[in-house]
Symmetry: C2
């Protein structure tokens, strides 16, 4: 189970019981769907796969993914939902109705105390071009590629303040060495 | 951009600037790598793709994915890192050294106040079998499939208390109707 002598404490071999399990999505709560959807579709090129509204519980869910995952999406609503829940790399945004109208309302990013969740991460083909694209869209940076100890790693904030790491995979071959 | 009349406020068409962007991973901080790695490898059948240690900053990163993503993993360390950062559906676990020895230390799950991040989600081929498998491994449930208003949706907790949604995609075709 180890790679070139790396130590992985506690690791066990998978059994047949978990066969077919798939990491489908990550859920983040958002204050204002209009702002969040503009951000993720314009800046990160994501596409809304499905919106589900829950009238009784007063919330809506938006499931987003990159277009590469969306090319053969079914047109039937039920099949489309099943398809959405079968993908990998989906982002679920939860909107509790009315939060967008509450002045001062904000969600917790997980990096300020109390800490927990840290970030989501996109890999991009060209990190310099991505930085320029973020600047062109007035995206807030936590750090640029040339700042701090983690060179070639960019962190930006989404419109709710959640951190998004942005990396170019082939510039990270020496990371951790 | 809309699907069958669904309203997506704020959505914009992607441009060439975001071409090739890929949702690579979600990062969660963990208290004890031995416990977290046992949980994710045994219960969810994940595999460690790469471990990266940062001596100066006193932390380690563990990148996990399902075996389906790992069949053609490169053996060279640098190539392996690049490959890891090119995948979709990866879970990054961050271990700040020493937390496992601090009594009472715990990370924040994002569902208690202050809220933000909600959960990660696995889709599984058989939700009933998955519930039995979780019971066999003494996994803590937030809710079972037959509890609450969201039928056919299971929530369990990982060893740090983060919520994991578990669904069987083809049982959710009517969701949100």
């Amino acid at each position: 189970m180890s790679f070139q002598g790396e130590q992985y404490p506690g690791v066990q071999a998978p059994t047949a019981d978990s066969e077919g399990f798939r990491l489908n999505h990550t859920m983040l709560r958002i204050k204002d769907p209009e702002k969040a959807l503009t951000f993720y579709t314009r800046v990160f090129g994501m596409r809304v796969l499905r919106r589900l509204d829950f009238e009784e519980m007063q919330f809506s869910l938006y499931f987003l993914a990159r277009p590469e995952a969306g090319e053969d999406m079914p047109e039937d609503a039920g099949e489309r939902t099943v398809w959405t829940f079968s993908q990998r790399g989906v982002l679920e945004l939860t909107h509790n109705w009315g939060t967008e109208e509450k002045e001062g309302f904000a969600y917790h990013d997980g990096n300020a105390e109390p800490q927990g969740f840290g970030h989501i991460c996109f890999s991009v083909p060209d990190l310099d071009a991505a930085e320029a694209w973020f600047d062109a869209n007035d995206v807030a940076f936590v750090k640029r590629a040339d700042q701090g100890k983690m060179k070639d790693v960019v962190f930006v904030k989404d419109v709710d303040g959640y951190w998004i790491e942005v990396i170019q995979a082939d510039r990270l071959g020496q990371m951790g060495d």
